[in-house]
């Protein structure tokens, strides 16, 4: 199951920043780093990000566990590219039968993996240090997102863990009705489809009930909503965004200076 609970020390100076500021900083950082294809800029950015980790109150081991899907997919990307990329320039490093690994291929593949990390890591850090309720509050109060959307999504989000249990229940209930797939892959696919459909029907019904219950408590009124929990956007939050922009800018500048910069477009 996807775990999205925050795993930070709540008093860490950067984890305490406004969720919208953290989100904006992560987005800016990612967008800037997407602009180059070279491995140097992302490597610098990753180094900065990891160095800042203590300020976010996240331990490296915890982060690695959170980023596990990213690690796994990066290994996949690296392997696929090294073996099958069309470009075969540079010095030959390994030649085994049909497989030819050259320095050019290796550098391109490493660059791609580093970019993946540099772009995704800020997001992983934001999720790991942000309480979903705080994020919804800040999105409404500081980013002017409609409350109906933010709290609706938050409430729906809370139901996600229920889906896993529900899936197991439906599968067992199917078996109790004499429906199973045995070893037939086609029957398996059909069973998967019909189980997913039942799950969806149940989720929609539950979502509808939740929506009615929310409206019964005045969620649909036109009265302007008040805020029981305040989210402040202060100077430190502005500085976080500026700092993230600066960090990504420095990484790009260094990459231009050492001559490895390769723009995404052009």
């Amino acid at each position: 199951m996807i775990n999205l609970e925050p795993v930070t020390r709540p008093d860490a100076p950067l984890a305490r920043r406004n969720p919208v500021a953290k989100l904006a900083a992560a987005l800016l950082c990612s967008v800037i780093l997407i602009a180059t294809l070279d491995p140097v800029a992302p490597a610098i950015a990753i180094a900065f990000e990891l160095a800042l980790l203590p300020l976010f109150g996240v331990r490296l081991r915890v982060l690695a566990r959170r980023a596990m899907p990213l690690l796994v997919s990066s290994v996949g990307v690296l392997g696929t590219l090294v073996l099958f990329a069309a470009e075969r320039s540079g010095r030959i490093l390994v030649e085994a039968g049909p497989f030819l690994v050259t320095s050019g291929v290796l550098i391109t593949a490493l660059g791609l993996v580093l970019r993946m990390f540099a772009v995704a890591l800020p997001g992983v850090i934001v999720v790991a240090t942000t309480d979903p309720t705080d994020l919804a509050d800040a999105l409404v109060q500081n980013a002017r997102l409609p409350a109906r959307f933010a709290y609706g999504a938050l409430a729906a989000f809370r139901m996600v863990p229920l889906l896993t249990q529900e899936w197991q229940m439906i599968s067992m209930a199917r078996r109790a009705r004499g429906v199973d797939a045995g070893r037939n892959p086609l029957a398996r696919l059909r069973l998967f489809g019909s189980t997913a459909f039942t799950l969806l029907v149940g989720a929609i019904r539950r979502g509808t009930r939740l929506a009615v219950a929310m409206d019964a408590r005045g969620f649909d009124t036109t009265t302007p909503r008040s805020m029981a929990r305040r989210q402040h956007f202060g100077r430190a939050d502005g500085l976080l965004i500026a700092g993230a922009t600066l960090l990504a800018g420095v990484a790009l500048t260094v990459s231009v200076a050492v001559g490895t910069f390769r723009p995404l477009i052009g």
Binding site: P132, A155, R158, I170, M172, A173, R175, R177, G178, A216
Partner: protein, 475 residues
């Protein structure tokens, strides 16, 4: 000005042929405590939704008028609070305090007034935890108590409770009953829909019974209504106090053993338990929430693999397959030996029509089309579902869905039937039919295991009981 005034009120949901409620004239004064009764499908929930202003003009057709405090309920929303059955789909936020604050925020209450109100609402329902307690860490009864606090924080003058204890075990239901009793002000008007009269009566001073065809069937003090209409109400399905049901003990002694469980366990859900089930015997498994009763039902039903111990079918039940444990049997082989009825009937529905639902099992076990048709017709008739044969199972009422889910398990004629809370939230009529059906099955030599919280069910039907709380073994 009355708290509630209905004049010839009727409502038909868009796309439905039948009026959910019709021809209703009713007047409720401020501070009255009213219990609303009526057979399943009499329109009780629709009436509550109308009073809460939750029936938009374009969602159906209206007749007559409905007023709350002399106003259209849609413009009197701040006067009304509504609590639903299912706590899981009422809680919005991740922390208890935030959830109670959700309503006051929607009403635009200034932040400095919200938290005192939250604390007061939590205190009034007797909530034991702090504001920061995660809502996911609460039991069903505690969640429903929190949902009640969320409604009370809006200080409604009219409080509507739609079967607030239907999804709770007896301990959870008691929590809610006490919380409602403690939370009512002298001038709060209460309108309560509830099947469990013994629990509801201490809270109310007036009973209104809706007639199934429309209008009010009876209205007055509980004593007067039950003295005049008790017998008829009980026959219609209302749980009227003082109308006990006759016990149905086994007419023959129990036969051969069908299934045994030896030190069966699935930590952390179920501690080790050993038991055996015999033909012609109704075994009731009871115990508090969290003791693993539903898990035990799934293990006995061959739907879940145990972590320790084993389930063994005898040759009497499984013939040559008795050597393999039930959870390894193919599904078609399983369903004509052990039938399972789940707590939530909707989990088990696979097709788009009631008749297809009943035909599914027999077809899977290789009966001829004529045999299938005969089985389906007999079950439809036996469980009063013939008129609904073409209906979609998901559109059935709670009682109808329960009858269908039991019927689907019986369609393959399993020798052993395992049921999880089959009588949960059922009206008296459906309850009697289920008990009668189970008693017949048992007397015809079937084995029956029922996981249940229902003391009346146990008293009426069970031949033997297993209590599940600590690891223990019955011979």
């Amino acid at each position: 000005m009355s708290a509630v005034r209905l004049r010839g009120f009727g409502w038909r949901h868009a796309g439905r042929k039948r009026w959910a409620v019709r021809g209703l004239d009713l007047r409720i004064e401020h501070g009255e405590r009213v219990l609303l009764l009526g057979a399943s499908g009499a329109g009780k929930s629709t009436l509550l939704a109308a009073l809460a202003g939750l029936l938009p003009e374009d969602s159906g057709e209206r007749e007559g008028t409905v007023e709350v405090d002399g106003r259209d309920p849609r413009t009197a929303r701040e006067e009304v609070g509504l609590l639903f059955q299912d706590p899981e789909t009422q809680l919005v936020m991740a922390r208890c305090g935030d959830d109670v604050a959700f309503g006051p925020e929607n009403r635009g209450l200034p932040a400095e007034q919200i938290w005192p109100r939250v604390d007061e609402a939590l205190r009034r329902v007797g909530f034991r935890y702090g504001r920061d307690r995660p809502t996911a860490a609460l039991s069903g009864g505690e969640q429903q108590r929190l949902a009640l606090a969320g409604v009370l924080a809006l200080r409604p003058r009219l409080l509507l409770l739609d079967e607030p204890t239907a999804n709770l075990d007896p301990a959870g239901a008691a929590l809610i009953r006490d919380a409602v009793a403690a939370a009512l002000d002298a001038d709060t008007t209460l309108l309560l829909v509830e099947h469990r009269l013994t629990e509801a009566l201490p809270l109310v001073d007036r009973v209104v019974v809706l007639a199934p065809g429309g209008g009010v069937h009876a209205d007055g003090t509980p004593q007067a209504v039950f003295a005049a209409h008790g017998e008829a109400l009980a026959a219609e399905g209302v749980w009227v106090p003082g109308h006990p049901l006759p016990p149905r003990p086994a007419t023959t002694s129990a036969g051969e053993t069908l299934l045994t469980a030896d030190e069966l366990a699935l930590p952390p859900r179920l501690a080790s338990v050993s038991l055996s089930v015999r033909a012609g015997e109704a075994l009731a498994v009871h115990g508090p929430n969290g003791a693993g009763k539903s898990t035990l039902a799934l293990l006995l039903g061959g739907l879940l693999a145990p972590a320790a111990g084993r389930v063994t079918a005898t040759a009497e039940l499984a013939g040559g397959d008795a050597r393999t444990p039930p959870h390894r049997w193919r599904a078609p082989a399983l369903v004509h030996r052990i039938g399972s009825v789940f707590q939530d009937p909707e989990h088990q529905f696979v097709t788009a029509a009631v008749a297809d639902e009943l035909a599914l099992g027999p077809r899977r076990t290789g009966r001829t089309e004529a045999q299938v048709r005969a089985t389906v017709d007999a079950l439809l008739d036996r469980l009063r579902l013939t008129a609904l044969a073409e209906a979609n199972p998901y559109t059935l009422s709670g009682g109808e869905a329960r009858r269908l889910s039991v019927a689907t398990a019986l369609a393959t004629a399993p020798r052993l039937l395992v049921c999880d809370e089959p009588t949960f939230g059922q009206d008296r009529r459906t309850w009697r039919e289920l008990v009668e059906l189970f008693a017949e099955l048992r007397d015809n030599g079937h084995g029956l295991v029922t996981v249940t919280h229902d003391p009346e069910f146990i008293a009426t039907l069970a031949d033997r009981q297993v209590r599940l709380d600590h690891p223990r073994s019955v011979p």
